[in-house]
């Protein structure tokens, strides 16, 4: 079974803090993704990576950055946390990009609260 793990289930940070969210997958997947989920807005893509050291912006990259130094690990960074970044953050990975086989496997999520 594919396993995607996220470093924290719940996190509370203060406005202006630098926040790191870590994600690790164990199935040698090429692609990794960061989403945030908010009520009424569904899943919105923040950033994704299709290879080590490669990254692409998603729908809502503002206020975030990412790092992928190793294939299995994809980090989301909030350079200066703000209250509007309070959300559920979901990491996902997939083997390929196109068609059958590009099902994304999700981690359990990190509920981040910024005070």
């Amino acid at each position: 079974d594919v396993k995607v793990t996220q470093s924290s289930r719940y996190l509370v940070k203060r406005t202006g803090e630098k926040v790191f969210l870590e994600c690790v997958q164990d199935m040698d997947h090429e692609n990794m993704f960061w989403y945030r989920q908010d009520p009424g807005l569904g899943l919105r893509l923040i950033y994704f990576s299709y290879d080590v050291k490669m990254k692409e912006k998603g729908d809502i990259p503002e206020g975030y950055s990412v790092s992928r130094e190793k294939k299995e690990r994809f980090s989301l960074i909030l350079e200066s946390a703000s209250t509007n970044q309070t959300s559920m953050y979901l990491c996902a990975s997939s083997l390929t990009g196109a068609g059958p086989g590009n099902e994304q496997f999700f981690g359990p999520g990190t509920r981040l609260t910024v005070l």
């Binding site: 998603g58 979901l90 196109a98 068609g99 359990p108």
Partner: protein, 115 residues
């Protein structure tokens, strides 16, 4: 502009009856469609998918129908069980920006199956 729409935020169904969740899309270049199920405080899990060259895919109690001319797909759950109560996300796969394939998610439909 929302490319994948789930127009019903919620749906209530009696146990044993059929649940029908609907999804519409606008981008005719989408070539693969997926349904995910999400319980509270967990990441979404892949449920079922369909290629654009097919009009139906069945897996146990779950069937997905695709009507390409109407740009519409639906998920049928028969018979519905209380454990099916969750948020269901429709997703579509297509080319993104620099040539990689990504998923675009709808906002989700919360299904409640009443015992």
């Amino acid at each position: 502009d929302q490319q994948v729409k789930q127009n019903s935020p919620s749906l209530s169904v009696q146990e044993g009856r059929i649940s029908i969740l609907n999804c519409d899309y606008t981008n005719s270049m989408f070539d693969y469609f997926l349904w995910y199920k999400k319980y509270p405080a967990e990441g979404p899990t892949f449920l079922i998918s369909i290629s654009s060259i097919k009009d139906k895919n069945e897996d146990g109690r779950f069937t997905v129908f695709l009507n390409k001319s109407a740009k519409h797909l639906s998920l049928h759950i028969v018979p519905s069980q209380p454990g099916d109560s969750a948020v269901y996300f429709c997703a579509a796969s297509g080319l993104w920006g620099a040539g990689s394939y990504q998923l675009t998610f709808g906002k989700g439909t919360k299904l409640s199956v009443i015992p």
